[in-house]
């Protein structure tokens, strides 16, 4: 019953094409999900506009102000502390005090309303990250935040994914530095490859990879 056959004759020639599509489409979809869904794609490079065009490149880079001048509690508490307006005014009630860029800071100081900075490095709520545990034992600021001293506007340079955390928890030595250089953005271990191991031994660093270490 040839007449009743519902498919046109060229369908036979389309079959290899269908095979090729069936082979390629899953590979394409998997690759798309894998790279498109990766935090490398979705999160790295996040650079929100801030309410005040504050430049880390000028303050931390050109002027060389230590990170801890503003982020005071970073060595002792879980949070790095975003500075209050008054910290800005320590200098800016003298320097460029009449600049229109400083105006919102003065307003904030007068009204008592803090400036609403936009958070750049935002971990999920079920992750309990502690700055002090890392900073006080040899993990420098630059390891997670990148060269903030070169950023006009702060952007996220690392993935901040669980796999990224675990890379360091499983092998911390390449990321350890002496406490004296903890905020130095340009410090490198140089040729001395043993320094990480030394600091690890000295600080007794055995990072846990149990679920409850970060998910309490």
């Amino acid at each position: 019953m040839k007449d009743s056959y519902p498919f046109p004759p060229w369908i036979d020639r389309a079959r290899p094409l269908a095979g090729a599509v069936l082979a390629v489409v899953p590979v394409y979809l998997i690759a798309l999900l894998y790279y498109g869904g990766s935090p490398r794609t979705t999160d790295v490079g996040y650079e929100p506009v801030q309410p005040i065009p504050y430049s880390h490149a000028v303050h931390a880079g050109v002027l060389g102000i230590d990170c801890r001048y503003c982020h005071t509690n970073v060595e002792t508490s879980a949070h790095a502390l975003v500075p209050p307006t008054q910290t800005c005014l320590n200098c800016h009630n003298q320097i460029a005090a009449d600049s229109p860029k400083i105006l919102p800071i003065k307003e904030s100081a007068a009204s008592g309303q803090p400036i609403r900075w936009v958070r750049v490095h935002d971990l999920p709520d079920y992750v309990y990250f502690d700055h002090s545990a890392h900073v006080s034992r040899g993990v420098g600021c630059v390891s997670c935040h990148g060269r903030v001293d070169r950023m006009e506007r702060v952007q996220q340079v690392e993935r901040l994914s669980m796999g990224w955390c675990l890379e360091c928890h499983r092998n911390p030595e390449p990321h350890l530095r002496p406490q004296a250089f903890i905020t130095r953005m340009d410090w490198t271990p140089g040729a001395d490859t043993s320094i990480g191991a030394k600091i690890r031994k000295q600080n007794n660093i055995n990072p846990s990879t149990d679920c409850s270490t970060c998910h309490r």
Binding site: P6, F7, I11, S161, M162, G163, W164, L166
Partner: protein, 466 residues
């Protein structure tokens, strides 16, 4: 349509000198095609189909509404709680995955052993297998609670830098069940291609022509196609055969690897496999007896086919009875007070009625199949088969819930009670199963026409007396 029954026809003889006919007399290639295709091609199914389908779909609806309630509220709507953290969810999972063992046994192992009687029942049994695996897979998938991260069960490279714990039998379970589901589906579909081509060639409407044509994959029945087809079928049969034994063995390690008294038994893998085949055959009998009557397939699915399955039920039922006895013996012989207590608790504890229901249904009732009158009477065998399935569900309840409810520390003992959601989902899973099976009966060839034709005497030229 009533079937063309031959009341005097009896092919249940055990005389080894005569090859028993596997169809009623007078069947030829054309009548087989007519008998099977008629079910699919008649404009309307029988009234009974509509009634059964309405009930099944209603329960499927209940099931999925309860799934929505469960996922949106949390698994606290089930009765599970410490110490009985696994209850109806896992009981139903093991029950359904066990049911799903008969299809592949019939289609793969009996194929390799050249058991020609498999041809009339293998298609429906395989369909039943796939639907049972679907029902089975839903329960562990739901019981993880956060269904939106279900894909974490599978090992894949991910941003968390984490793998599932490969030492855990729960991971083996995911692999075993998904492999089994995939291979069963492929095997079922491959075997159906020639029959789908028959339906395509006979189809009258455009939609039917297109759909059956699409799934027949351009089958024309050339010698080369048959050659390739039979090779592929043999290979898949060989691939499925170890799966029949491995899947329920892996499921049993979910329990046997734990140290809980009542679970920690080396007997579990073969015991579970025997139980799975036992319950699977019981479900095939439960489905085939009404199906062959409603759809006029009595000429192809004869009493001999049913009797053979009942013999399987008797044999595996005895194996299961032996396993029950050995479980008691092992716990006594272990000299371990917790192991022995777990056994005593089953027999005389608060769930004793479950244990004795299980023993009665699984060990005592199948003994009726020693009598030929029980093996060959359709309604009596359905009674036995239904009781066997009740017993096998009870067996999983006894193993899982009763063991968990009273473990080492009396201070942590708790009695488990199912909630209405538990009961609704159990009934709903039956609704889903029967919905799928009824759709299969209506739209796909229920009997492997090509294979039944191959076991007719005419296919072997015996009519010519070479």
């Amino acid at each position: 349509m009533s079937s063309v029954a031959f009341p005097a026809f009896d092919n249940t003889s055990d005389d080894p000198t005569v090859r028993a006919p596997l169809t009623t007399p007078g069947q030829n290639f054309q009548t087989i095609t007519e008998t099977v295709c008629r079910v699919v091609e008649r404009p309307r199914p029988p009234l009974g189909w509509y009634i059964a389908f309405a009930i099944a779909v209603a329960w499927t609806g209940v099931f999925f509404l309860l799934v929505v309630y469960l996922v949106s509220t949390g698994i606290g709507v089930w009765g599970n709680n410490v110490p009985v953290a696994w209850a109806f969810d896992i009981v139903n999972f093991v029950f359904w995955i066990g049911i799903g063992h008969a299809g592949t046994l019939i289609s793969a192992i009996l194929f390799l052993f050249r058991q020609k009687w498999r041809t009339s029942i293998n298609r429906a049994a395989e369909a039943m297998t796939i639907f049972a695996v679907i029902c089975a897979g839903l329960f562990p998938a739901l019981h993880v609670g956060r269904v939106w991260v279900e894909y974490w069960l599978f090992p894949y490279p991910n941003q968390m830098g984490m793998w599932p714990n490969f030492r855990s039998p729960l991971v083996w379970d995911v692999v075993a069940v998904s492999t089994y589901g995939t291979v069963s589906l492929l095997f079922w579909y491959l075997g159906m291609i020639p029959d789908l081509a028959t339906l395509r060639d006979r189809a009258t409407g455009t939609v039917r022509k297109l759909l059956y044509g699409l799934f027949a994959l351009g089958w024309r029945g050339s010698a080369r196609q048959w050659h390739r087809y039979e090779r592929a079928y043999l290979l898949l049969a060989a691939l499925s055969t170890p799966l029949v034994l491995s899947v329920h063995s892996v499921v049993s390690t979910d329990f046997a690897v734990a140290q809980l008294p009542g679970w920690h038994v080396t007997l579990f893998p073969p015991y579970f496999v025997a139980g799975a085949i036992f319950s699977g055959f019981a479900m095939v009998v439960t489905l085939m007896v009404p199906a062959r009557a409603f759809f006029g397939l009595k000429d192809l699915i004869t009493i001999r086919h049913l009797e053979n399955m009942n013999k399987f039920i008797l044999a595996t039922g005895c194996m299961v009875g032996y396993a029950y006895a050995l479980e008691v013996f092992a716990s006594w012989y272990s000299g371990n007070q917790y192991e022995w207590f777990a056994m005593v608790n089953r027999a005389v504890g608060p769930y004793a009625w479950c244990y004795w229901t299980m023993v009665f249904c699984n060990v005592v009732v199948p003994q009726l199949f020693w009598f030929k009158s029980w093996r060959t009477s359709p309604w009596r065998m359905v009674l036995v088969a239904v009781l066997v399935n009740v017993g096998m569900w009870m067996e999983r309840f006894v193993i899982i819930v009763v063991s968990l409810s009273r473990d080492f520390l009396p201070s942590s003992w708790e009695i488990y009670k199912p909630t209405w959601v538990d009961l609704g989902m159990l009934a709903g899973s039956f609704g889903l199963f029967f919905t799928l099976f009824l759709l299969f009966c209506r739209y796909l060839p229920m009997v492997a026409m090509a294979e039944v034709k191959a076991v007719l005497p005419a296919a072997h030229g015996s009519g010519h007396r070479h």
